[in-house]
Point group: C2
Chain length 205, copies 2
Amino acid sequence: MTESYFMNLIKKRKSERSYDSGHEVADGCIESMVEAARLAPSASNRQPWHFIAVKDADIRKRICREALGGIVANKFAFEAPVIFILCTETGFSAVKVGEIVKGIPYHLIDAGIAGEHLVLRAAELGMGTCWIGWFNGKKIKKILNIPKGIKVVSLITAGYPKLRNEGNGPGKAKGASVPEISTPEKRDPVKKRKPLNSILHWDKW
Amino acid sequence: MTESYFMNLIKKRKSERSYDSGHEVADGCIESMVEAARLAPSASNRQPWHFIAVKDADIRKRICREALGGIVANKFAFEAPVIFILCTETGFSAVKVGEIVKGIPYHLIDAGIAGEHLVLRAAELGMGTCWIGWFNGKKIKKILNIPKGIKVVSLITAGYPKLRNEGNGPGKAKGASVPEISTPEKRDPVKKRKPLNSILHWDKW
């Protein structure tokens, strides 16, 4: 099997926890990331997702202090120049009925799909991202004025990685809006994963 | 914003509901698709996913008859040469505790992320796929001998699209394992989606 652009892209993506806070993310890049999410498939094409792109430093600080407070592991979020708040509509619909009948909240699967489109587009644009699942949803809703019927599902930080000693990461290509992804990511080894034969079953379990 | 390989790939992907049932999917392609899923991020790197690649015609028929029966919209699944059963481990763990505390079953978001990696890799390989959310999970577990503690989250059909009159789709490139994606997909217009400004909010809702 020939190595592919897409396989390289998903290997390039990693959960980035160190951002260059002074390197702003252009609005056009944010729009392109959400555009990638917009084109994602969803149950019955319901498209339940919303993305709030929080760039404002004061609002980001409030989110980090009030909704991620006390979680040491998430302190890196302070540095990220953008925090995406991924929300879904949870109102009544045929899909909602299906969720109740089948016991599977499809809107969360849809959120995963769309959010990962955003994350992979960010990787293509030379940015790092990190999914954050541990937060205080009620506080975020209050800070951002999110209405009833909308659930905060995940946070995704985004920005250019902080330069490290070796300096060959995408963070160096500050001027380039779409850096090539062919450069080997020396500091970006694929995180430890279970072996393929432990997750792939043929025909039966 | 320059058009990108990844944006083209996600535009190429569509929910395929018409397969060339005689065009088998090579095991190497199936492995590559699950490899893409394997590299996906997950909450606390828990990797809760399992993929059962059902190629056997008799088992596929049983699934379609017994677990998708009566759902007219899913009849296309009979034609797909592979049906992936996407499952997740639902056992006790720190993440599970988080799910209970926060009310968000992260394993479903993780399943969406990993499943979409598989779907996009399939698109890169010239295949069509379709997420199926409406099925009888208990019957599928019985047919496939899926143990306790494992939840069937979604089905994903995969295969080469049936040739249509215009014949320029990826289904034509029968011999090529990795068709180029630069060819415009005339018969693959992006499904209707909400406009960007209705799902992207800046700084606050």
